[in-house]
């Protein structure tokens, strides 16, 4: 599982964008528009990544840092959403799946086969 490091979360008004600002050859199609929940999930994903860096400092590098496996990641994001919005796991699971799917489709996140 790999996370692209070219992307930054940007906020204008009520919009949230994942923009490949650090990419050498960015194109407009690579931008992903998120809602508030999506933005929260992205920040949670970043936190998970940072935690991984702290726990496994030698394994992780700034670029393409390794992440927990797919199920573990899904669990972590669901927990984060539940804690923030006071909702059940069944309610948040579709959102998390959609979010991760969107990231993988855009090539921002590469999940394990």
């Amino acid at each position: 599982m790999r996370l692209h490091t070219d992307y930054q979360l940007r906020n204008i008004g009520t919009f949230y964008f994942l923009v490949p600002l650090k990419s050498d050859h960015p194109v407009i199609d690579q931008i992903l528009t998120l809602n508030e929940t999506g933005a929260f999930l992205w920040n949670s994903l970043q936190k998970v990544l940072q935690k991984q860096h702290t726990v496994q400092p030698k394994k992780a590098t700034a670029d393409n840092a390794p992440l927990p496996d797919n199920d573990e990641l899904m669990q972590l994001l669901c927990h984060a959403l539940q804690a923030e919005y006071d909702v059940t796991k069944d309610e948040v699971l579709p959102d998390v799946k959609t979010f991760l799917n969107s990231l993988t489709q855009k090539g921002i996140l590469t999940l394990k086969d």
Partner: protein
């Protein structure tokens, strides 16, 4: 000053400062809610919609109007447009760097680093200065071979190049000098001041964008001259004031104000610079203390409040580059008959670029130009010529109050 204008500049000021030192009170929020449709329209006219929209959201000013699908689409489209321009700039700047071109990125994209949310600042084109003639030809050839095509031939100081990609068109203005010849005595001084433009390397950290631009004093002077150029033609809107505000605020500590003051005095632009800066301090939250701390020389002790109000009105009613004001057709720096004739002559040359080479045709071409002017006023602008002339006279008075008509006096001296 009416509530609408106060609210508009309050929102802009809020958007320009990430620390939000310029707080919006509950009373002001209520006023903003009441004037919301007008404020959004004003923001469109001045091409600052994303700043206003973002400030509204950050201040928790919620209104059904902001949730409307068409409005949301409009804002989303603007966001994408601005990212698109940024990506285009990144690509072209990388190309220039790759071929070791000595250039200066001007205004627009080069100012983004000064904004808390750079992508909110819209740019319709990209401006590149290559002052060395040989380097200019090389750059032009490079861009043409890359896929650009020439949109308009060389004007006085730049050439417009277009680039098509994925059903989108991008405009690049390739400048061979900074300011066009306006035909006044200031031109020679400007030429001398920008004789040496040594590009300074900069990096826009938020987008990892590397570029070359003018040094700080030259950049500041260029921004002022750019404002002046538009002000003395059809006018300019709030966006250029925002540029002036954020640039001064971010670069005050590195500006040699004494050297800058000398340039201002040589150009006769001290009153103009003082008024613009004072407007930014009063309405756009430019911190006076930062300028004072850095010994800024163009902080006027007293400025006639009526003059400030007139300049603000001029900017406010202009919209972006005077597009909103159809009475601003005639441009005249000096309030006299000969300058109006000179302008008519210039317009004739624009209408008839080839025929105007032969002076024998001039009387006929002048008549046609005058006829077209009168017809366009009635049919297209739907404004009578008398109103246009009256507006021109008032603007000439304003130029006089800002000592911008001093060229004529200096020439006489």
């Amino acid at each position: 000053m009416n509530t609408e204008i106060t609210c508009f500049y309050k929102l802009l000021s809020y958007a320009l400062h990430s620390d939000h030192s310029d707080m919006i009170t509950q009373t002001q929020k209520e006023q903003i809610r009441q004037k919301l449709p007008d404020l959004l329209q004003l923001a469109r006219q001045h091409n600052v919609s994303l700043f206003v929209y973002d400030a509204l959201c950050q201040c928790d000013i919620d209104d059904p109007l902001l949730q409307e699908t068409t409005f949301q689409r409009e804002m989303l489209f603007e966001c994408y447009h601005n990212y698109d321009m940024l990506f285009f700039a990144k690509k072209i700047l990388a190309l220039l760097e790759e071929h070791s071109v000595s250039y200066c990125l001007l205004k627009g994209v080069s100012l983004l680093a000064n904004y808390p949310k750079p992508e909110c600042r819209s740019a319709s084109d990209m401006d590149i200065l290559v002052s060395d003639p040989k380097e200019y030809t090389r750059t032009r050839d490079l861009l043409l071979s890359y896929g650009f095509c020439v949109a308009n031939g060389m004007t006085d100081h730049h050439e417009e190049l277009l680039y098509y990609e994925n059903d989108k068109t991008y405009l690049l203005e390739l400048h061979n000098k900074l300011i066009n010849n306006s035909g006044n005595v200031r031109d020679e001084t400007i030429k001398a001041l920008f004789k040496q433009t040594i590009p300074v390397k900069k990096k826009l950290s938020f987008a990892a964008l590397s570029y070359q631009c003018l040094n700080t004093e030259q950049n500041l002077l260029y921004l002022l001259l750019h404002m002046l150029q538009h002000f003395t033609s059809l006018g300019f809107g709030a966006k250029l004031l925002c540029d002036w505000t954020v640039f001064l605020e971010h670069h005050a500590h590195e500006i040699d104000f004494m050297a800058f003051q000398t340039m201002l005095e040589d150009l006769g632009l001290v009153p103009f610079c003082e008024v613009m800066t004072e407007l930014c301090i009063r309405y756009l939250g430019l911190p006076r203390e930062i300028l004072e701390k850095n010994h800024c020389t163009f902080l006027a002790a007293t400025i006639d409040p009526a003059l400030l109000q007139r300049v603000l009105d001029d900017i406010h009613t202009a919209g972006e580059f005077g597009k909103e004001n159809h009475t601003r057709v005639l441009i005249a720096h000096q309030n006299n008959f000969s300058s109006t004739i000179a302008q008519g002559h210039r317009q004739m040359k624009i209408y008839f670029p080839k025929l105007s080479h032969c002076f024998l045709f001039w009387p006929v071409l002048w008549s046609i130009t005058l006829y077209r002017f009168l017809c366009n006023n009635r049919r297209l602008r739907k404004i009578d010529t008398k109103t246009i002339l009256e507006n021109t006279r008032q603007r000439q008075e304003l130029f006089k109050a800002l000592s911008l008509d001093s060229d004529a006096k200096r020439k006489e001296n």
